[in-house]
């Protein structure tokens, strides 16, 4: 479809320009680091800032022992609570006085860290980053404090119906698999985690062999090589990871209602999806954009919000993990329109399955997906996050240049085949948290 705006005051003629590469001359250097492997570096000397993103691949919450769910998250909360000869307050004061930000986060698959520093403090920043991973203290008082914070976070998440819905949806889609457990742990498991558990996790899961690092900003290759080697050389060579089995999700078809005294029903719905390495990834991404991933450009937003005012937000997304993939959606709608919203989403899903999308929709999706790509590379931390994600998927440095070509190459046939493969409307698993009227659970 051609969008013409020649009637607008400025008379801008719209042509589909090929979008330039994400950043002007964004040169990704691959820096070999003695004992650590390759570090990706993008130099940018316009501001005195350095951003570092790292991940220990495969060291995520899926590694938690069954009775100790939340262990990886617990470790992530402890690494900046004292390391080496610095106790918790001394470590925090050092970070704060030098304006170094350091944080760790955990997903099912990977254990990630982020550091940001001013150029002038880079040596100390890399030293503290290395220390936090190589030599965390795990002092008893700090363990107790962070344990309470984790329990408070779980309690607080109980007040968030959307979080409850996502958690319960996953539990039913992955029975007996790590992906069915909450990353942040449970009220029963967090108290069971000991100092020995924390130390054992750090010893086993953090190694040079599964460490991926990217650096962006005001630093050159020689210095990256020196500082990274200094920070991470003490790590063992290989991690000891428990194999996580691949699993196709088995979300039960039908509706489950979890009663909560709230005026708006929070609904999570989903189907088995695909992993990132699936050859149909890009056609599926385009399909998802048109269904519910494209904000106001999506059919679900149009039908549920724009035409009927049933929700503020309705969306879908592909959720790929290392060992499974999902197509997940969510909508919040007042209790007495939960049934209508479900019916409309089900109908639109079936319609896309049967008839696919139009050539104009394909064109619109491609224009957005290719055109918005450069926007993801706007700041040093954002560039670092993009590069880390690319590395975690195992792609090479040329992915950044090639990525828009993959989108451009998607055909209508491929997109519609992807809809046929993924969009089984009758198989959708619906989880409703709230007090919906006119529907009740059809599954246990």
């Amino acid at each position: 479809m051609n969008v013409t705006v020649k009637h607008l005051a400025a008379g801008v003629v719209l042509t589909v320009l090929a979008f330039v590469a994400p950043a002007r001359a964004m040169d990704i250097q691959v820096v070999p680091v003695q004992g650590v492997g390759q570090v990706w570096l993008v130099e940018n000397h316009s501001l005195p800032i350095i951003a570092v993103d790292l991940a220990f691949k495969g060291a995520g919450a899926a590694q938690d022992p069954d009775g100790k769910v939340g262990l990886a998250t617990f470790v992530s909360g402890m690494l900046d609570e004292g390391a080496g000869d610095l106790d918790s307050q001394a470590f925090q004061k050092r970070l704060s006085d030098l304006s170094i930000s350091l944080s760790f986060s955990v997903g099912q698959d990977d254990f990630a860290g982020s550091m940001k520093t001013l150029t002038e403090n880079r040596e100390e920043a890399f030293r503290l980053l290395g220390l936090s991973i190589n030599a965390p203290r795990f002092d008893a008082a700090d363990i107790d404090r962070v344990r309470d914070q984790l329990i408070a976070a779980i309690n607080e998440s109980e007040q968030r119906p959307a979080t409850v819905a996502s958690r319960e949806w996953a539990a039913r889609a992955y029975p007996g698999h790590a992906y069915g457990r909450p990353v942040g742990g449970r009220l029963q498991t967090i108290p069971a985690i000991t100092r020995a558990d924390l130390a054992a996790f750090a010893d086993a899961k953090f190694a040079r062999g599964n460490l991926i690092i990217v650096v962006v900003g005001d630093i050159d290759a020689a210095e990256v090589s020196k500082l990274v080697a200094g920070a991470f050389a003490p790590l063992p060579e290989k991690p000891n990871l428990i194999p996580v089995p691949d699993m196709v999700a088995v979300p039960p078809a039908g509706i489950l209602v979890i009663d909560r005294p709230i005026p708006q029903s929070n609904i999570v719905f989903g189907l088995p999806g695909i992993k990132r390495d699936d050859p149909e990834w890009f056609p599926a991404s385009v399909m998802n954009y048109v269904l519910g991933g494209g904000g106001f450009a999506s059919r679900l937003m149009d039908e549920v919000r724009e035409k009927r005012g049933l929700a503020y937000s309705v969306r879908t997304g592909l959720s790929p993990q290392d060992h499974s993939g999902l197509l997940l959606g969510s909508v919040g709608t007042r209790n007495d329109s939960a049934k209508d919203s479900i019916d409309i989403i089900r109908r639109e899903t079936a319609k896309m399955h049967d008839s696919g999308i139009t050539a104009a929709e394909l064109d619109g999706a491609k224009k957005y997906l290719t055109g918005s790509y450069p926007l993801a590379f706007d700041t040093s931390p954002n560039i670092a996050a993009q590069l880390l994600a690319i590395r975690l998927e195992g792609f090479a440095t040329d992915y950044v240049e090639k990525r828009n070509g993959y989108i451009e190459a998607v055909t209508l046939e491929q997109t519609n085949a992807s809809a046929k493969r993924l969009l089984d409307a009758e198989a959708i698993s619906w989880l409703v948290v709230g007090r919906p009227t006119g529907i009740s659970s059809t599954v246990k």
Binding site: A9, D97, Q108, Q159, G295, S313, R334, G371
Partner: protein, 478 residues
């Protein structure tokens, strides 16, 4: 490490958020650069079109992208009485049809040009923005110029979008007891000033928002002389000015009068707001003090002294409140303080703490202990002041935050847009740095003594109901 409420983990989270939405809380105040190593001021160029519209350009040539924002000097505090939610409702309706665009076409054009866009409303401003590749800037400017005065709403647009904003209220406020508490606290902090009304509106009044009230509000406030364009990114001032003359320069609209709002009487009584809600699993206490903004209500430098105070009292894991309540006394899992001086009228100084977990039976007791300790930390500060070292360290963190903020064209555009719509000049926004550098330990103590007074405060508690002792014989046949 502190577990923020929304930690980013690659979990079963959805990948996309897009909403024509409400600004959630305060943005980072503009942080200062250091006098000792004064970074060059951010290069900002400012112009005025003949029709009165201000044009602000922040060049940054690191990437071929641009943030394009139009800020209107109107927010929820400018709504007519009884019409709460009107400014935010209009923000939603701005994405409907104009004389040149069909319903929904605005978003479609932006998306098909690879743009990301949204809008937000607050007490003092309404802003619309697009992040795009720089070659799409002219198109974005013509789109925003078109809807500045060219909106062509139909009565039937109203009912469905009104349901959307009510749904948004359910999502943000009614489904979340902590948000309900916040709303009640603001309503108690400001007795007369319209900041006591939530930006999203009171539900009963939202349900009554009608076509005529929207149109009247739009015609009164959406006009070039009440708008500020902020463009940050791969552009020059001259180029943006030329484009602006061709687009925004052609828009005609009425002059707007000064922003006159009811004042706030001198506070005389401490207030308490206790929200008991069966959904609460994590109790909390929060306190707000009526405080000056950068523009009004304080002595020179007082708002900046309060910024430094917020950092010392509750800015992170080494702050006084966190150290005392969380680390030393082990009464709380979280404790923080902040100053919010980014308002056209008065601002607020806030304190927050969450008690350590425990049984429901002891919730009230644990929360009481937390509040007593917060009071004790504040009392010590008022009595003994702060040290030169604390002030120096706080300043150095604020300086670094300023350097970090320059990494994001979006943040820069927001800092200037927010400053200008809350009555500051570009010079005042930029010289905040110098004013922070001038803050002394004595100024911090004086500001604390003048503002952290009980009668200026609202203390809010969030609690579950008192548990009923279960009758173990219930259900057993006698």
């Amino acid at each position: 490490m502190r577990f923020a409420k929304n930690k980013a983990v690659k979990n079963l989270a959805l990948a996309v958020t897009l909403s024509i939405g409400l600004s959630a809380g305060a943005m980072m105040p503009f942080a200062p650069a250091n006098a000792s190593e004064m970074a060059a001021k951010i290069p900002v160029q400012s112009y005025q079109l003949k029709n009165g519209m201000q044009i602000v350009v922040i060049p940054d040539h690191r990437a071929p992208i641009v943030t394009h924002m139009v800020w209107y000097k109107v927010g929820s505090a400018d709504e007519p009485g009884g019409r709460s939610g009107l400014a935010h409702f209009l923000e939603h309706l701005m994405f409907k049809r104009t004389g040149k665009l069909k319903d929904g076409e605005f978003s479609k054009i932006v998306s098909e040009n690879g743009g990301q866009h949204n809008a937000f409303t607050s007490y003092d401003m309404t802003a619309y923005y697009q992040d795009v590749a720089v070659d799409r800037l002219p198109l974005m400017m013509s789109l925003e110029a078109d809807r500045m005065t060219g909106l062509k709403l139909k009565p039937e647009d109203i009912a469905s979008e009104r349901q959307v904003i009510i749904e948004e209220r359910r999502m943000r406020t009614e489904n979340n007891p902590a948000s309900l508490l916040n709303e009640q606290m603001m309503a108690s902090l400001f007795l007369a000033h319209p900041y006591h009304i939530p930006v999203i509106g009171w539900k009963d009044e939202m349900e009554a928002l009608d076509y005529k009230s929207v149109i009247d509000f739009y015609k009164a406030h959406y006009t070039p002389s009440n708008a500020i364009l902020v463009v940050a990114g791969d552009v020059t001032g001259d180029a943006v000015l030329k484009l602006a003359e061709k687009t925004y320069g052609k828009v005609r609209g009425p002059e707007v009068g000064p922003r006159v709002r009811p004042g706030e009487p001198t506070p005389v009584a401490a207030r308490r707001v206790i929200l008991v809600d069966e959904r609460v699993r994590q109790p909390l206490m929060q306190r707000l003090y009526l405080a000056p903004s950068y523009r009004v209500g304080g002595t020179p430098g007082e708002a900046e002294a309060l910024d430094v105070l917020g950092e010392i009292l509750g800015g992170g894991s080494t702050s006084r409140l966190y150290r005392r309540l969380v680390v030393d006394k082990k009464l709380a899992t979280e404790a923080a303080a902040w100053n919010d001086a980014s308002a056209y009228d008065l601002g607020s100084f806030g304190v927050y703490a969450a008690p350590v977990p425990g049984s429901a039976a002891t919730d009230r007791d644990r929360l009481q202990k937390v509040e007593t300790e917060v009071d004790s930390v504040i009392r010590e500060l008022l009595t003994h002041g702060v040290t030169a070292d604390e002030v120096a360290r706080a300043k150095s963190r604020m300086i670094a935050a300023e350097v970090y903020s320059r990494d994001s064209i979006t943040t820069l555009a927001r800092v200037f847009g927010q400053g200008l719509t809350t009555g500051l000049t570009i010079d005042q926004i930029q010289s905040w740095t110098d004013r922070i550098n001038a803050v002394t330990p004595e100024a911090v103590q004086a500001a604390a003594r003048s503002i952290l007074q009980d009668q200026r405060s609202v203390t809010g508690l969030l609690l579950p109901p008192v548990p009923v002792v279960a009758n173990t014989m219930a259900g057993v046949k006698q």
